[in-house]
């Protein structure tokens, strides 16, 4: 690669998953009071999916955050 230092791919993945995680978490919380028309809405898949995405994305973002 050229001499410029490149941010690791894990950082980009972390940021995107964190954004998706926050969006899913917000949607999941609202689905507690307004369940969507899907099978097994009481499993709250969107909420738990949001939790996983936020934790994984947040972890990657923090760990690979560019430092001087």
């Amino acid at each position: 690669m050229s001499e410029k230092k490149t941010l690791p791919i894990w950082f980009f993945i972390g940021v995107l998953l964190l954004i998706y995680g926050i969006l899913c978490l917000a949607a999941g919380i609202s689905q507690f009071s307004h369940p969507p028309a899907i099978v097994l809405p009481d499993v709250h898949a969107t909420f738990w999916g949001g939790v996983v995405l936020t934790v994984v994305g947040g972890g990657y973002t923090a760990f690979y955050w560019p430092r001087k």
């Binding site: 050229s2 998953l17 998706y20 899913c24 898949a45």
Partner: protein, 602 residues
């Protein structure tokens, strides 16, 4: 805004998305374009553009190696196959992939890596000479760009059915996005996006097996439902015990075809010689990473049936129970769901707003990374294996031609020869050619997509054409790496006649369908068996011709085979590494897991 969007949307679609779901797709497009823009300033040489600077770690290369194959068509297609054939479809992920990936890492990768070749046709040049590279390079480039277009059309067709998107909108938006991010950042950009897509696919698709198994009452409950819902449902749940005879399983195949046709020839041919996947591995920073990358990919590949095959089985368990049977696309009536709809239908069944957007984004990401994989492989082979040796010399002065000294060369000037090293000025020229060939590759793909739109049968023909080439190519490269007596003429004629024989068998069955029983050695054989046996015979023919012609021609001096062939190459030892860092240990562990999985689902 709503009126503008409605131009691109059809009235009916399988999935109705909310504003949140659409915003997740928009964020994905912005992210991939942003990554391409970010990497543009870091792509200044040909090696950066075509080989990602040979700087990737084993994990990045391994995930990218797997993701290049894990496109959305793959996901939806094999989920459909699992619905149609049951757990037998998992053979394509286990015996049909894992041994080949381990073999690539432990046996073949040292030769690709030590020879410092840019591409698989580049290895053919080093080992067998220019004519074999020309044959391999032209076939590969032609097929790759056609496949890219056909995948693009398939994606647009799926998006039309699933999301209600206009065909032209899908084709142009996805192809322009791919052209921009690959044109800017080259292979690095494609690899970054493939790893991103890998995460999206896993996280977006996991909702189906988790909630699906919850609905069915776990694996035992699912098996009970399939046995109740489907005629001969028990045969949908075993991987080997029904393979004794062609007529005992839903696929109409027998264990010989699975073991030797799929497990050996097709699988090894695809995973070890298809430059689309091999290119990801040769970008690694050192030999150990190059060896570990496909082995890391093998572990994840073993887990892919969880998000592909299991959803197909869940479809058998939940849809058939409610009187909703999916049918083959060939016989589907308007409004009737087909096997190919099983994954989107399950996504709609279990994923609410938010997760639905993530799942659809994963499908789109899968389509685009598949296209990007084809385009990057095309750009490399076009630039290094066709343009540089065959076209550019025609436009250069005689002096320059002598300096390049690549055209018509015999086999084996040894690795890292003059052809593989470019002067600084040349490098910038090839970098520019790489960017242009990316754009041209995308434009040709768009043309192919429109051609496929007019003549849908072209899709079957091109997919078949691609498979013609892979099995014989594996024979040529395997003999090239492991048998030093193989000569330039042997390699060329073996590859040519092996490919021609594969085409011949395919045409024979097209003209006379009863020929299938001769090729597959059984009157009960189904079309799936044809691919296996066609590959097996064409590989055998390629090997026999290569051996016979090689013995009839002068051997290549061993000094020229250094770094290219087993027995003439000093293989780097990993004895200095602790056991848990050795590729051999992890390769063997992958094979042990493979055996355990097959026994579990026997």
């Amino acid at each position: 805004m709503h009126t503008t969007l409605s131009v691109f949307l059809a009235e009916t679609s399988l999935i109705k998305m909310s504003g949140l779901d659409i915003s997740m797709i928009v964020i994905y497009f912005l992210a991939v374009l942003g990554i391409g823009w970010y990497l543009k300033g870091r792509t200044s040489t040909g090696e950066d553009f075509f080989l990602a600077g040979r700087s990737m770690t084993a994990w990045v290369a391994g995930l990218s190696f797997l993701a290049a194959n894990l496109g959305a068509l793959e996901l939806m297609g094999w989920a459909a196959s699992a619905y149609e054939y049951g757990i037998l479809a998992a053979h394509w992920y286990w015996i049909g992939a894992i041994p080949a990936m381990v073999f690539l890492g432990l046996v073949m990768m040292p030769f690709y890596y030590i020879s410092r070749t840019h591409s698989v046709p580049g290895y053919l040049k080093l080992r067998y000479g220019e004519s074999t590279r020309a044959l391999g390079g032209v076939c590969f480039a032609f097929m790759t760009v056609l496949m890219s277009g056909i995948n693009m059309y398939a994606m647009a067709a799926v998006m039309q059915v699933v999301l209600g998107w206009n065909l032209h909108f899908s084709i142009w938006v996805s192809s322009i996005t791919v052209a921009v991010y690959v044109g800017l950042g080259g292979l690095t950009s494609a690899i970054f996006n493939e790893v991103l897509q890998f995460f999206l696919i896993w996280l977006g698709a996991l909702v189906i097996p988790i909630v699906g198994l919850t609905e069915c009452g776990g694996w035992t409950g699912l098996k009970d439902r399939i046995i109740q819902n489907v005629t001969h449902g028990g045969t949908y749940l075993h991987m080997w015990s029904t393979l004794g005879n062609f007529q005992d399983n839903p696929m109409g195949i027998q264990w010989v075809g699975i073991v030797f046709g799929l497990g050996f020839v097709i699988s090894f041919g695809y995973w070890t010689t298809d430059f689309l996947v091999v290119q990801r591995v040769i970008t690694t920073k050192d030999l150990r990473s190059a060896q570990m990358a496909p082995i890391i990919g093998a572990f994840f590949k073993m887990a892919v049936p969880l998000i592909v095959i299991l959803p197909g089985l869940i479809g058998l368990g939940v849809f058939n129970r409610h009187g909703m049977t999916l049918v083959s696309a060939d016989v589907a009536k308007p409004g009737q769901y087909t096997y190919n709809d099983v994954l989107p239908l399950l996504l709609v069944r279990y994923a609410g707003p938010g997760l639905l957007g993530l799942g659809v984004t994963a499908l789109i990401a899968g389509f685009m990374s598949g296209m990007a994989g084809n385009v990057t492989a095309f750009a490399t082979v076009w630039t290094y294996d066709i343009y540089r040796p065959l076209i550019r010399p025609l436009f250069r002065s005689q002096t320059s031609m002598a300096a390049t000294a690549t055209v018509g060369g015999g086999a084996g000037n040894g690795p890292v020869d003059g052809d593989e090293v470019a002067a600084a000025g040349d490098d910038q020229h090839y970098l520019k050619m790489g960017r242009w060939s990316t754009i041209i590759g995308v434009l040709v793909s768009i043309g192919t997509a429109y051609l496929a739109m007019q003549f849908s049968s072209i899709m079957d023909y091109v997919q078949a054409l691609f498979s013609f080439f892979v099995a014989p190519l594996f024979g040529t490269i395997l003999l090239g790496m492991l048998w030093k007596r193989a000569t330039a003429a042997g390699g060329f004629w073996g590859l040519l006649i092996g490919t021609a024989s594969s085409v011949g068998m395919w045409v024979w069955v097209k003209i006379d369908p009863s020929a299938l029983s001769i090729i597959a050695l059984s009157k009960y054989a189904q079309p799936m068996a044809q691919n296996m046996y066609q590959a097996l015979w064409s590989w055998c023919i390629c090997v026999i011709i290569t051996v016979v012609v090689s013995y009839m021609t002068q051997p290549i001096p061993e000094a020229r085979l250094k770094g290219l062939v087993y027995g003439c190459t000093e293989m780097p030892s990993s004895a200095h590494l602790p056991w848990y860092k050795r590729p051999f240990f992890w390769g063997m562990l992958a094979l042990v897991f493979l055996v355990i999985l097959n026994v579990m689902f026997w």
